[in-house]
């Protein structure tokens, strides 16, 4: 029996599409609408008087930007109208079945934030540079943690223990920094500490196939217990010799550091922050452009396929999470070698969990995860700055701000995200 000779004419085998309607998410216009409405309501219900000043300048050598002063209500209303126009643009694009362009997103975010600040800081001066620079400071450990998280998950290992890595890193940095008097030694110790947590994670999650989420949570609890115990028994009684780490000095970068607005925010930082820039660039380059990255991603997507082309799956996973742990550990060092020169019990305050959220919001991409972490840093700092300025918003609401902003931004900007296919699945040969 043969059916040759009557093979049907080529038919697109990828599935019949008789008529097609492209899908455009309506999330963005809706979120824009809700946010604009919220801003208008705030302005209507809670009018302010006076003027708002934005201080854009720090000491810079090139040029000093002037202060920007606007009438609070007038300025805020103008920006609310701008938001409404951008929303209309987004709706128009949606109706035409087109996505909302990136510039519209950015313009909306800036306009809304400026409008809100103009209203909230009526009669005050907003230190824009301080606001942004502070955001970076709050975001640094988050970015390190998120980078580590992205790496691990790309290789197929879910790392809930980022918080543990940050905390143990902070502890090790404080201890070794104090003992040696060198912040660099502290930094290295933090990296080792982060990697150490990763070894334990790997042992259970990769070698013994234990559920990765459970191992991660247990590790976090373990590190909290361990560091708290050592802190109260060892560090606190000998604070002068064991808990007074040296700080990394601020190193302004010539020329770059003198650019108005950008310079003081990004380029008058400590070595740790410059290392962060390098790490983000290296990780995202290496992940997508190098042999190492290709293999890491292969192992996280389809370990069996990787195995059949001769890649050692579990070895690759171990190496990747060790590196990821070292990176997260550097984030921990930032707490004790830059922020406050001493270790405190549970001083990360759950930052590792926020970093984990940034990994997911950033769709498992190093750059996007960095952006998500930066956004969170900004929102946290905004809350702090507004509290100091004495904004009309009740403080309990202000504490919610970082989370609310993150949720709105993520809901509005991030499309469907798909984790690596083998994320969290141990690889077991038959």
């Amino acid at each position: 029996m043969s059916t040759t000779g009557l093979s049907p004419a080529p038919v697109p085998t990828a599935g019949p599409t008789i008529d097609t309607v492209p899908v455009v998410s309506r999330k963005t216009p809706i979120i824009f609408g809700v946010l604009t409405l919220a801003l208008v309501l705030i302005l209507l219900l809670e009018g302010q008087s006076g003027e708002t000043t934005f201080r854009l300048a720090a000491r810079t050598d090139f040029a000093t930007l002037p202060e920007l002063t606007v009438p609070s209500m007038g300025g805020a209303w103008a920006l609310a109208v701008a938001c409404a126009l951008l929303t209309a643009e987004s709706v128009r694009r949606y109706a035409g079945r087109r996505r909302t362009a990136a510039w519209v997103l950015v313009a909306f975010a800036v306009a809304w934030m400026a409008g809100f600040l103009t209203w909230a800081a009526a009669g005050e001066t907003v230190p824009v540079v301080g606001l942004l620079a502070g955001s970076i400071a709050l975001a640094v450990p988050l970015v390190f943690g998120a980078l580590g998280g992205v790496l691990g998950e790309r290789a197929g290992v879910v790392n809930i223990a980022i918080d543990g890595q940050l905390l143990l890193g902070a502890f090790a940095a404080a201890l070794v920094g104090s003992l040696t008097g060198s912040p660099w030694a502290g930094l290295v110790a933090a990296m080792v500490a982060g990697a150490l947590v990763a070894v334990v994670l790997g042992l259970f999650a990769i070698t013994y196939f234990v559920d990765q989420v459970i191992v991660g949570v247990v590790l976090n609890v373990l590190v909290i217990g361990l560091t708290s115990f050592l802190f109260s028994q060892v560090l606190a009684p000998n604070a002068a010799s064991l808990n007074t780490p040296p700080r990394f000095p601020r190193i302004p970068i010539p020329v770059l550091g003198d650019i108005p607005l950008v310079g003081p925010v990004f380029f008058r930082q400590t070595a740790v922050v410059y290392l962060l820039y390098i790490a983000v660039a290296l990780v995202s380059y290496a992940l997508y452009r190098t042999r190492w990255g290709l293999r890491v991603r292969a192992v996280g997507e389809h370990p069996k396929a990787a195995d059949t082309v001769g890649i050692k799956v579990n070895r690759t996973r171990y190496r990747t999470i060790l590196l990821a742990g070292a990176i997260a550990g550097m984030g921990g060092a930032f707490y004790t070698l830059v922020s406050v020169p001493q270790f405190n019990r549970e001083m990360t305050g759950g930052a590792g969990y926020i970093a984990l959220a940034a990994v997911i919001f950033g769709k498992w991409d190093p750059i996007r995860a960095t952006m998500a972490a930066l956004l969170f840093g900004f929102a946290s700092n905004l809350q702090g700055v507004l509290a100091v300025l004495g904004s009309p918003v009740p403080s309990q609401f202000m504490l919610m701000l970082p989370y609310v902003i993150t949720i709105f931004a993520v809901a509005g900007l991030v499309g469907r995200s798909r984790p690596p296919a083998a994320d969290g699945v141990p690889y077991q040969k038959e």
Binding site: T290, I311, A421
Partner: protein, 504 residues
């Protein structure tokens, strides 16, 4: 490169999957491996590819004994494999998949994607593959994905190529193209091992045929051997290749489908107003190239599709808009086309899989708890009746060979009081002996007065089972014709053309 497998033995616990198997493949030769489901073909190939370690025996390439510790070693020695389940990374591009594990790099490990693209283009041109190196693998049709697997093997300079049931997932047209590719590879001097259950393919390309049964080589056959000879050698008894069936005793209209529309969440139309009727005691086969709405039709009847308009009535009761559970309770049996995704729970035992569609009431459940005795007794009986090759009823479904998994699904669906049977690709990946068995079951179901809807891309199967044949093309009915319609006419209809004498 000449490949010799010498006395390979591989055991899984007490089960001897390969029992001292020897095999020779010379360059420029296609060597077909035939055998029932679970005979040990894939196991042997996995040993060859370094995925399993043989317990005894040796692999010899060009006179040198090899010791493969993993697939990496096998590949380096010049062995390439196109796996039964593709080993491609869906979110990578073709070029990335091809270079993985064998990357050419520039400074500091930077990927040289251009080199990989060039390699894909070169091989693709040499064999006329038409594969775009920058396409994402998940967006390619299966036939093209398979070519990517072949390119992957060739790009590592494989001299021995193993194809493990490559045609099970292909359309007839893609199959013909693959046969052509294999002929070219043969001419290029590759040694090829080809595993399939379809005898016509064997005769089309094979130079030598080795038949394996229960882990042992039971003989060699000439490519000139008839289908019946090959089949009986495989199964160890004579096999009816086309199941005998009597004229149908038709009853009333049982399944009535009127103006059925199905869309997916993205608004793509998959079924565009189709209508047909199946009478009690009749088999209607749906033919057509995969992806013309067949899957959606079966899923719409079962209640698995969301955006369904129109009407489907079974014995006068409306099924559209009901839950899957209600549809099952109405007496619909369903053999899904992808047994691993939709038919079985891999981690469950055979016995547990056999009660999936009756998980909430008698005979297997009483007062909310399982009646283990009744279930085990039932499972033992079905294992015997359907000749499922497995150590026992507690074996996990995922450990069974493909054909045996399929038998478990068929056994479950047919051992209930049915009022309609919907069978999608009921014999995909199943050996000739089991095909005979499953076909007999389908016909017996029909003869007991039940309407049967069969969806199949195998024209042989359609012709063997159908009382009437419906051809679908791009979501519409091209025509419904008698079972005895010539294949040429059917082939034409599958391209969307309606011959003059056929009415829609």
């Amino acid at each position: 490169m000449k490949l010799v497998l010498r006395n390979i033995t591989k055991r899984f616990g007490s089960l001897v999957a390969n029992d001292s198997i020897s095999l020779e493949v010379s360059p420029g030769e296609v060597h077909c491996l035939l055998g029932e489901n679970g005979a040990g073909k894939s196991t042997l190939m996995n040993v060859l590819y370094g995925l399993y370690q043989a317990d005894e025996g040796e692999i010899v390439l060009d006179g040198e004994v090899q010791h493969f510790l993993g697939p990496g070693d096998a590949m380096a020695a010049g062995i390439g494999m196109v796996h039964q389940h593709f080993m491609l990374i869906p979110v990578f591009t073709v070029a990335e998949n091809v270079m993985l594990g064998n990357e050419s790099t520039g400074f500091a490990g930077t990927l040289d994607l251009d080199a990989a693209r060039g390699r894909v283009r070169e091989i693709s041109e040499r064999f006329g593959f038409h594969v775009d190196p920058d396409a994402l693998v998940e967006e390619l049709p299966v036939g093209v994905q398979q070519r990517v697997e072949i390119i992957k093997a060739l790009s590592r300079d494989a001299q021995v190529l193993v194809f493990d049931e490559p045609t099970a997932v292909l359309t007839p047209q893609e199959t013909d193209e693959l046969m052509e590719i294999m002929r070219q590879l043969k001419e290029a001097g590759k040694a090829i091992v080809f595993i399939t259950h379809k005898l016509r393919e064997v005769r089309e390309v094979a130079d030598r045929i080795t038949v394996i049964r229960l882990g042992k080589v039971v003989g060699e056959a000439e490519p000139t051997a008839s289908n019946a000879e090959l089949a009986s050698l495989m199964v160890g008894r004579p096999v009816e290749l086309v199941v005998h069936k009597d004229e149908p005793r038709l009853g009333d209209d049982a399944l009535v489908v009127k103006d059925l529309h199905v869309r997916d969440a993205l608004g793509h139309v998959h079924l565009d107003g189709i209508s047909f009727t199946i009478r009690a005691g009749e088999v209607l086969c749906v033919a057509g190239v995969q992806g013309n709405g067949q899957t959606e039709l079966t899923e719409a009847i079962l209640g698995l599709q969301e955006h369904v308009e129109g009407s489907v009535t079974l014995d006068g009761r409306q099924l559209v808009g009901r839950s899957v559970r209600q549809v099952l309770d109405a007496g619909v049996g369903f053999i899904p086309e992808d047994r691993q995704a939709d038919g079985l729970v891999g981690g469950f035992s055979i016995a547990e899989n056999l009660m999936l569609n009756r998980s909430f009431r008698s005979p297997f459940v009483r007062g909310g708890s399982l009646r283990v005795d009744a279930l085990e007794e039932f499972a033992e009986r079905k294992l015997e009746e359907y000749d499922v090759r497995a150590p026992d009823i507690h074996t996990r479904a995922s450990k069974l060979s493909g054909g045996n998994q399929q038998k478990v699904v068929v056994a479950r669906e047919l051992s209930r009081d049915l009022r309609l049977l919907v069978a999608a690709q009921p014999t995909r990946g199943v050996d000739v002996g089991s095909i005979e068995f499953i076909h007999k079951q389908v016909i017996a179901t029909r003869d007991s007065g039940i309407p049967v809807l069969v969806v199949s891309t195998e024209l042989d199967e359609v012709v063997a089972l159908a009382d009437r044949i419906m051809v679908l093309y791009r979501g519409q009915v091209v025509g419904i014709v008698p079972g005895a319609t010539p294949r040429e006419t059917l082939g034409l209809m599958m391209t969307g053309e309606r011959p003059k004498d056929v009415v829609a």
